[in-house]
């Protein structure tokens, strides 16, 4: 009982220990240090704004999608071109192509052959 009373008294004293507290003062030259921090912050804020803009998830997602789309488009385009070129190559060996050349006399003629004919 007495112990409890003592403890309660002690707790009350502890709770009252801040009753006459005085305001703590900021350290000297606080403004000087603050203004140098402000200068640093204004330099850094531009960088961080750019960084914030560049690293926005929406922007990243759109750039990534465009990148993927361009890659797919380029691959598809290259593939198509290759197919067209290879098709034309095969056509050269075709009999129809050969007959076409013969019909219109598109074969390469040399000057020697012309001379020979004249003789």
């Amino acid at each position: 009982m007495d112990n409890n009373f003592q403890q309660e008294k002690l707790i009350s004293q502890l709770l009252d220990s801040l009753n006459e507290i005085k305001r703590a003062e900021a350290p000297p030259f606080f403004y000087t240090r603050l203004s140098s921090k402000l200068n640093k912050t204004s330099d850094a804020s531009l960088l961080s704004k750019i960084q914030f803009f560049v690293l926005r998830p929406a922007l990243l997602l759109v750039s990534f999608t465009v990148f993927i789309f361009l890659n797919i488009y380029t691959l598809h385009h290259i593939k198509q071109e290759t197919t067209v070129t290879s098709n034309s190559f095969y056509n050269k060996n075709d009999t129809s192509f050969q007959s076409f050349v013969q019909e219109y006399d598109l074969s390469v003629s040399y000057i020697y052959s012309e001379n020979t004919n004249e003789e």
Binding site: L14, N19, A24, A26, L38
Partner: protein, 189 residues
Amino acid sequence: MEDQLLILELQQNLSKSFSKLVELYQHLVFNTVLGMIQSNIDAEDVAQEVFVQIYQSIHQFKGDSKLSTWIYRIAISKSLDWHRKKNRKKRFAFIESLYSSDNVSIKYDPPEFTHPGVEMENKEQAAILFKAIKQLPENQKVAFTLNKVEGLSYSEIAEVMQVTIASVEAFLHRAKQNLRKELASQLVR
């Protein structure tokens, strides 16, 4: 009236009037932050962050409340941010302690805080009380610190915390109850 003049000056020519604002409010900010974070080393840094925030957002201040109330709000929110950041670091302190030879627990949890404004004969008791205040939930801690360390009235605390006076009374009542329990358990140890 003085506040309104200062706000006008700040909004028109920030760089010139800012030193005046710092001169007027530096002790208020420092004392609030110190009471909240209970670290003499970090209090100046956090107080500086408060003024940086004021500098960057003074144009957004509409004058709905007193300038000092707005400054108190920034100081409180910066202090709470500091606490959250520190708690996050503390969670990784165990891993750090495995690789470091230094005493990591002291780094993140300094043993004792003595407020420079406490009278000499109360220093020891105040240190025990501050240790117990650390254990309080955020709202109770803010209300108790503003009331005891900054000496704000219930209505002023209500304005800063943007709650009703009845809520402030409830916070303070619960804070005292919790502190009694915490102090009793500390005394038993």
